[in-house]
Amino acid sequence: MIEEKKIIAAIDPDLCSFIKLENHVWKINAKEMYYKDLNSILRIIVQNGAKKVEIYNVCGQRYIGTDLNSDVQIKIFGTPGNDLGAFMNGPKLIVNGNAQDGCGNTMNNGEIVIHGQTGDLLSHSMRGGKILVRDDVGYRVGIHMKEYHDKKPNIVIGGTAQDFLGEYMAGGVILVLGLNLTKGDCCKARFVGTGMHGGIIYEREKILEVGAGTKIMNTGKRDKLTIETLVQEFCKNFNLDFDNVMNAKFYKIVPISKRPYGKLYSH
């Protein structure tokens, strides 16, 4: 209780009435709250040890989850704004709704689970952590994703992806399940893997048409392990039957060259 008072004292008195603590869960009513205020509240309560946060009536507030450096779990109800989890380092965000553009932008560590769909630029330049999306995603998902040693970003898309999936991708894993497609249907995605020079895109059945510079291959033993681990986690989060999802053929899309544009300016 003493701790709670200390934390509340650090918060702008005008905002205190929007926050309450129930059973160790911090509940924030973000209705009409400015995004900077919301993020500053999050910073204060997380710095002071909050482990569980619920934010209600979220409507367009940007950058939620950024600058927290903790493994706090944040449940979001509503539609969070652009760059959800940008530069995020550690938290787990659970969104009950759709995410907008730029979700997971340059994310370093942590997890984002979206019970809905996302806009464009999901996991732009992502360098670590995990993103699970139940439904569809927009344009340029995984653009510039990268990996380094043990830092390896993973994203799983339950539905379909749009154009430029994995554009300039340099590392990490994207798994597209296409669970909402009927058999024989494809994602309406052009230019998949344009400029891709690292990382892997997995697909469940042949639902992606690859662009120039990439090739489709059968999956091997190690691929299977990666896919199974990701699908397991996906099914656990969205309450799906693992065997059902796995009962399909998986393929992988990889770049043909590590330097697709190496000769672009050489003659």
């Binding site: 500053s40 910073r43 204060i44 907008q100 769909q117 806009g119 464009d120 749009q162 430029f164």
Partner: protein, 379 residues
């Protein structure tokens, strides 16, 4: 903006990250509604703009004067008004005119804004369409009279725009007093040209309006092409060409919207190569005929005229656009949150693909048609 030093702002993060915001809302049954929802929605995207421009287009607002052209004119000097009044009187019968109703608001340097309801005089040459006569006069005033700009020239519709955030512009023009069945709005973050009252969106000619997020790098080519057809660009902003292009293609040349979108956001050549021979032939012809009307660069736009609202992005979707429907209402927006704010539960919500239009049409297309057209339909 709230003073953050009180709470915690260790990084001084008051930098602007922006992009324009667009929002459109149309009642497909033609029922009129007030400004509160659209103002609320565009205000939710406040941070996309920077206060250098905001505006609204409303359709169905002047039922009493619906048969007359409603001109909204901004004057940067008294002298400009005197000159414009003379020119207007030479070409039109002025049925009614008044100073636009405004109130003090957080907008910068408002000009004098006047509203006229006019009827073209009978002196117009035989064979010339009334619309072309009006268009030519608008172009004449905008180019020849200094400090005078007609920024709205359609029937039973109006554009309200200025320098400020959209919510402030709404305040300034007392938009709460108007009702329409189709509203579009814009919050501006100018990139290439200065923010001034004429440069705010929507851009308009006759009853066509455009709000735009992005940048038309093809502006120069588009502008020169449109000049051949008598359209003169005076508002110093790229978006203007789009308004004139749709007027040329849809009104003058009477092309259907699904062709027009394929001119403005033409499929890439390598996509055309993969199409069926007949389709290939058509698209090649369109790209060759209208190469100067291809809108290059990133854009998402909402185009509107009586009876129709169209959302469109560039071919590779470099700017955002989402769409949603709830009962009779179609929403188009830069961000989903703005739609959810005014309509939390939607019947349908989707992200349109690049270059593919979202089209909202009145269920009864004749509802707001001009009396003369209704007459023709009856006989």
């Amino acid at each position: 903006m709230r003073n953050l030093t009180k709470t915690n702002n260790p990084y001084g993060d008051d930098k602007d990250f922006s992009g324009c915001s667009i929002f459109g809302m149309m009642n497909l049954e033609g029922n009129l509604f007030s400004s509160d929802k659209i103002v609320k929605a565009i205000t939710n995207m406040h941070d996309r703009g920077n206060g250098q421009g905001g505006g609204f287009a409303v359709y169905g607002i002047y039922p009493t004067f619906k048969d007359y052209y409603a001109f909204h004119i901004m004057y940067l000097s008294r002298h400009a008004k005197e000159k414009t009044d003379k020119t207007l009187a030479a070409y039109f019968n002025i049925i009614y005119d008044e100073e636009m109703q405004t109130k003090p608001a957080n907008v910068s340097n408002p000009p004098l804004v006047w509203r006229y309801f006019v009827q073209p005089r009978k002196i117009r040459p035989k064979g010339k369409l009334i619309e072309d006569y009006v268009l030519e006069t608008v172009m004449k005033i905008n180019t020849e009279i200094k400090n005078s700009f007609i920024f709205s020239s359609g029937k039973n519709m109006g554009v309200f725009k200025g320098v400020g955030f959209p919510e402030d512009v709404a305040d300034f023009f007392c938009l709460e007093d108007y009702k329409g069945y189709l509203w579009t709005s814009h919050g501006r973050f100018p990139t290439n040209t200065q923010g001034w009252w004429g440069g705010a969106h929507p851009f308009n000619i006759l009853d066509w309006t455009v709000v735009h997020n992005g940048e038309l790098s093809s502006y120069g080519i588009n502008k020169r092409y449109l000049e051949m057809y008598g359209y003169k660009c005076t508002m110093q902003t790229d978006t203007e060409v789009l308004a004139y292009a749709v007027d040329l293609l849809m009104r003058k040349q009477n092309l259907p919207i699904n062709i027009v979108t394929r001119i403005l956001a033409a499929p890439l050549w390598n996509e055309i190569d993969l199409m069926k021979p007949k389709e290939q032939e058509m698209l090649r012809t369109l790209r060759q005929t209208y190469s100067s009307l291809l809108m290059n660069g990133p854009f998402s736009v909402i185009i509107a005229h009586h009876g129709e609202m169209i959302g469109l992005t560039d071919r590779i979707k470099l700017r955002p656009l989402v769409a949603g429907t709830k009962a009779d209402i179609l929403y188009l927006s830069s961000e989903e949150a703005a739609v959810r704010l005014v309509s939390p539960k939607l019947d349908k919500f989707w992200s349109p693909r690049g270059g593919e239009p979202v089209i909202g049409k009145l269920t009864n297309p004749l509802l707001f048609a001009e009396s003369s057209i209704l007459e023709e339909n009856r006989t």
